[in-house]
Amino acid sequence: MTWSLVLNVAVGGILTGLVYGLMALGLSVIFGVVKVVNFAHGEMMSIAMYLAVLAFATLHLDPLLMIVPVAAVFFAFGYLLQIGLINPFINRPEHSQFMLLIAVALIIVNGLLMIFGPDARDAMVGYAYDSLQFGPLLVDKVRLYGAAAALLGSAALFAFFRFAPTGKAIRACADNYLGAQVVGLNVKQLYALTFGLGTACVGAAGCIMVLLVDVTPTVGTAYTLLAFVIVIVGGLGSMAGALIGGVLIGLSEALAGLVMDPSAKSMVSFALLVVVLLFRPQGLAGRRA
Amino acid sequence: MALLEVRRISKSFRGLRAVREASFDVAEGGILALIGPNGAGKTTCFNLIAGVFPPDEGTITLDGRRLDGLRPDQVCHAGIGRTFQLVKPFAALSVEDNVMVGALRTRRDVAAARLAAREILDLLGLAAKGRHLAASLTLPERKRLEVARAMATRPRLLLLDEVMAGLRPTETDQMVAVLSRINRETGLSVLLIEHVMRAVMALARDVVVLNYGEVIARGTPDTVVRDPAVLQCYLGEAAL
């Protein structure tokens, strides 16, 4: 094992991790504000992946071009889902919320299975196997472009929460539900907006992800778990934590792939999850409750 | 020797000292009221005694036995029953089952615990509600359920955290009557946190006043309410 190999794998892992980060960001934002855990997160991403694959197969549209339209559609989807289905559950016990979203996940996975069948699909873009060389470093184009897009998406979200009045209002809701209601914020609508933003993130991440992996109907569950691992490692509800966690998990998975059977590499993430849960349950970037 | 002896206990949260070097006793068969303005550290004192968290310094003993550092269930076993200021009923269980859970620890079996629960509910005027879900009770009823449940554990000392808050004057008087009767008949000692002075004056034999986590006055109810330091902390400088 040479240094340049390790370096290449590490850089690849970090770039993939940024895409993971964008996906997990959606979960983190939803949890941080609405306090609902989206157990259908990865499954939602798989819908976006299929949309991107379809657009590529029929219209030859680059998946990266699909980010904006898919994110828009997902925003509407998330908004309506929150208003219609999830909002009545805000004050219900946690386990009912989980089961509600698990039901949604079950429907998505098997709905996709009914429509697309069990076979894996992909979007073979022209540059799928191209790489760029920087000294000893060989970077896949898809990974680089994907990571750039993910960073852009995350930056947009950060900017929204930092500067936009609506973003600030949402943060106020997250900090103090009662207070937000008292000062006249429409909490129900802000929650729906947040859920929409969270699903938009995962939609965008899905479009990028088809450049990196094949999509099957059942791929979603694994990504739901991955997103959980990432946000818990990073700190549930912390936006920066989601990105850090994503990079960390991407990196550790990639490096683990060097020393063990690639199909066993997610054991490393789960081990990391257990360690973080035990010793720093608030996550790496989270505040202690 | 007093039943409960609290000696110089202190507790800080993130640098804020909620309780500093507070000491007080509850005599065997006595009723002590812990009063003070909001944020004076009363509930923290309670939680220290009940084992929710350990004190940073100081000792707590019940009948000579150290309590500090024990878990809440161990404190209960040692002979202390407590209520919660924000009531915590087992909502999906019947009122009777709520009390029975408390009684199970010291009774032979479920049937014996159920009998004990009925007696206690009777004592607190909740007998008619025994089969109702705890979730269906009104706030004053829930407060009484808290007391009933704590009493079911057969404590030697009862910690009551604002059980009169939100009660109407007549209900307060009823609760005072029930508590003083139990105290008289069974010798159960009571430590209560209370804002309702009407209840404190009627029930407590001794009063300890906390302010900013420190004991600023102690004595009988009559002397304490005339204490200048107490008046100042409740009413501000202008009162003097």
Partner: protein
Amino acid sequence: MTGPRLGLWCDGVPRRALVLCGILLAVLLAAPLALNSYLLSVLILVLYFAYTGQAWNVMMGFAGQLSLGHSLYIGLGAYTAAALFMHFGINPWVGSLAAMVVAAAFGAAVGYLAFRFGIGGVYFALLTIAFAEFTRIGFDHFPWVGGAGGLFLKVVGKGRFDLLHLRGSAVMFYYLLLALTVAAFLLCHRLMRSKIGYYWLAIREDQDAAQALGIHTFRYKMYAVLLSSAMTALGGVFYAFYYNNLFPEQIFSMERSVEIVLGPIIGGLGTLFGPLLGAFVLTVLAEGLRDLLSALGLALPGATQVFYGVCLLAVIVFLPDGIWPGLRRLLGLDRAAGPGPKREG
């Protein structure tokens, strides 16, 4: 002699409920005489979900600890008994004990870590999933049990009826599973009327209040996890010897865990009949739907699961307490007048 012993089980149970239970049991006992092999296999599936649902219910319905990783215990139970049988010829009944021990040991690990370190709510659910996934991947790379390629037990002729070695026809498995389900039901019934059951409910409702009443919450939560995982492992042993093949991918999957959870939630969380009712309603409806779709030429993979999802969604939204509380009222089994204890019986 039988009087007091019966009294132990039937105390406080309405007469009408006893009669209905008797009829139900008689129907279940006679069922194999009337059913063809397909319908029998459906009924086996019903009992399988009823049993595993009952086991899961101990942990969530009674003690309030949400496990979404119960496939872990199914898989461990199945693999332990099957591998011991295959490699060492150890009798499956002995293997069952080992299976329960292994599953309970894993349960103890999950419970200890979670309860000692104060991991609750969503974190606990995730920890259970993480353990199941971790173990699944581990078994994928565990050559002794065949790894990802699976573990296969030799299939024997249909005519055999070898209860000792768990080799035989579907009818044998049916009665075995029925016995297991009835035993689990009776056990839970007993527990719910004993100190431990009431302590579990108290912990489920409010942990702080429970602890203040002298309940050693850590210990009682551990009891729930140990019992639930050991019971679930027996379901796994059954699975192994009934289906004769095991793949980590399938048996440890999250989908398996969710299937286990569906019955009790749809039937009624924390009730004794909920898991039975939920398993029956779901399985029968799903099989009916499958038949209907294939008759219409619309059979698609995934249709059953979509149906599960829609059922789950509908029940959670419209019947948050499940089907059983309503049905119990219809059957006139509610105790006395007035709003009695909701989550019993």
